[in-house]
């Protein structure tokens, strides 16, 4: 604590707490296709910037403008980034050698990796785990404990996580950003580990979610052959939805199909298959 007070002298703990709450509530509040989270980021930082630079200074106007630019990340895991940014602005206000470009570049360099990891860890892994536990509690008898369990666990952990990361970012300041850029090897290792974990879990969640089965039965005299049960399930349970998912990934990643085009493709495919009595 003592060490912290020495390095951060212009802002009080109350300022940071206020900014953290403002971020938790407003981070995604202005999302749009042009700047994504840009305006909200400026909204969160404004009281801090005013205190650091003074309401009528040129520096304050310039600071507002640099935080109005395009900004986009996964807002929950990305709570670290505004914390770091505030610490950098504070250092700049104290006359340390931190240029406008450094602040903007740090934000821009961090937002990509945090979007990737945040989407796969929080939205792709953590949330589906909680949702599938909750669904198993209630999908058969409609027990309200299912959704209540999800709300309590999700909200308490994720709000705490954002609060923690925001303050952590501020405490470490430019050090956190430096850690990120100078220890490229270590960061790559952590990113690889998290990505690997995310991919395995997402594979499992996908297996419980994506479904496709063939109802067509081949009848020849007394013999009835169910393609699904006697062929596809014997090869591997869930082989059809797996092939479907891989095909969709291939079309999007390699053939650059848009999501809308894929949606239409699946709808038409399903219509034809149902019409022919295959699925």
């Amino acid at each position: 604590m003592k060490n912290k007070n020495q390095t951060h002298s212009l802002l009080t703990k109350k300022d940071i707490d206020k900014a953290a709450w403002s971020y938790i509530f407003f981070a995604q509040a202005t999302q749009n296709f042009e700047r994504m989270m840009g305006l909200a980021f400026c909204h969160v930082l404004e009281p801090v910037l005013k205190k650091l630079y003074g309401a009528d200074s040129e520096e304050y106007k310039k600071a507002l403008q640099r935080h109005m630019q395009f900004y986009n990340t996964e807002p929950q895991l990305g709570a670290l980034i505004p914390g770091i940014t505030i610490a950098m602005e504070e250092a700049r206000a104290k006359g340390e050698n931190i240029s406008e470009e450094l602040i903007v570049n740090t934000k821009n360099a961090l937002m990509g990796p945090f979007a990737g990891i945040g989407d796969s860890m929080l939205i792709g892994t953590y949330s589906p785990i909680l949702l599938s536990i909750a669904m198993s509690l209630c999908i058969h008898d409609g027990n309200p404990m299912g959704p209540i369990f999800f709300c309590v666990v999700w909200l308490s952990t994720v709000v705490w996580l954002q609060w923690f990361l925001f303050h952590k970012g501020y405490d470490m300041g430019i050090g956190a950003a430096n850690l990120f850029f100078t220890n490229k090897a270590l960061v790559d290792k952590i990113t690889t580990g998290l990505t690997m974990m995310g991919l395995i879990v997402i594979g499992g969640v996908a297996a419980t979610t994506v479904k496709a089965s063939v109802i067509f039965q081949y009848v020849n005299g007394d013999m009835t052959l169910s393609l699904q049960e006697q062929i596809f399930d014997k090869i591997m349970p869930g082989i059809l939805p797996l092939l479907l998912t891989l095909a969709v990934w291939y079309m999007m990643d390699k053939k650059k199909w848009s999501a809308t085009k894929i949606v239409l493709g699946i709808v038409v495919f399903a219509a034809v298959m149902v019409f022919l009595g295959i699925m």
Partner: protein, 268 residues
Amino acid sequence: MTFFQALLIGLFAYLGSKRTPWFFGVAGGWNMIGRPLVAGLIVGVILGDIPNGVIAGAMVQALFIGQITPGGAMPADVNWAAYIGIPLALAAGGTGEQAVALSVPLSMLGLGLFNFIMTINAYFPHMADKSAEQGDGAGIHRATYLAAVPSFILRAGSAVLICYLGTPVAEMLIHGMPSGVLHFFEVAGKMLPAIGFAMLLKQSLAKQWMLVLFLLGWVMIGSTSMSVTALAVFATAVAIVFVMAQGEAKVPTPAAVQNTEEDDCYEE
């Protein structure tokens, strides 16, 4: 459905949409109230049928459990599925299957509304640009608050109108819908989540070989009785083993490098 019930559903539809600050921002809104599972409970309470609401919510949630929206690109609009699909199915006397059948087309139509709001909301940063140039902090906050208005009008408004006026239509659809069409929505609805996973793969496959990890996870759940939580523990172990096996030589602090290089030969 009474108008007052539709009004309440519309209010929660707004609270569960993207861009709502009211309840712990994106964590409590879009990622919680907006989830079909939670919507099922809320709609169940409003319409006075909690068990059926929760079941319908869980079944619609299954369609969207892995829905990720990288960079704001959305494969389907969960909001309309949750706050129009579920209430209409319940009000029309349907169950989970009917909620799924209504949710699939609604989630595609809702995508238009989502993209429309994302586009018109680009007006507000321009409004705030002028305030930023003049050093008018209050103007920036005003633009941020005003950005909630189109969301509120369009999200709440569309849900109230469609829920209130759509109940007879939904009754007609659900009771008059040929079983083939109902079956088609079920088949399409269960295949559509593939898109969300494909988008996530596209984003997170740093190296092509990592695709085997996705296959591994799929096979573990698909071919055994393992739960997702158990898989998460397994996945953590695999990731840690991989990172450890790469050796610690890359750890940047000089002392650590020396130690591990010596240790590597003898202890491991």
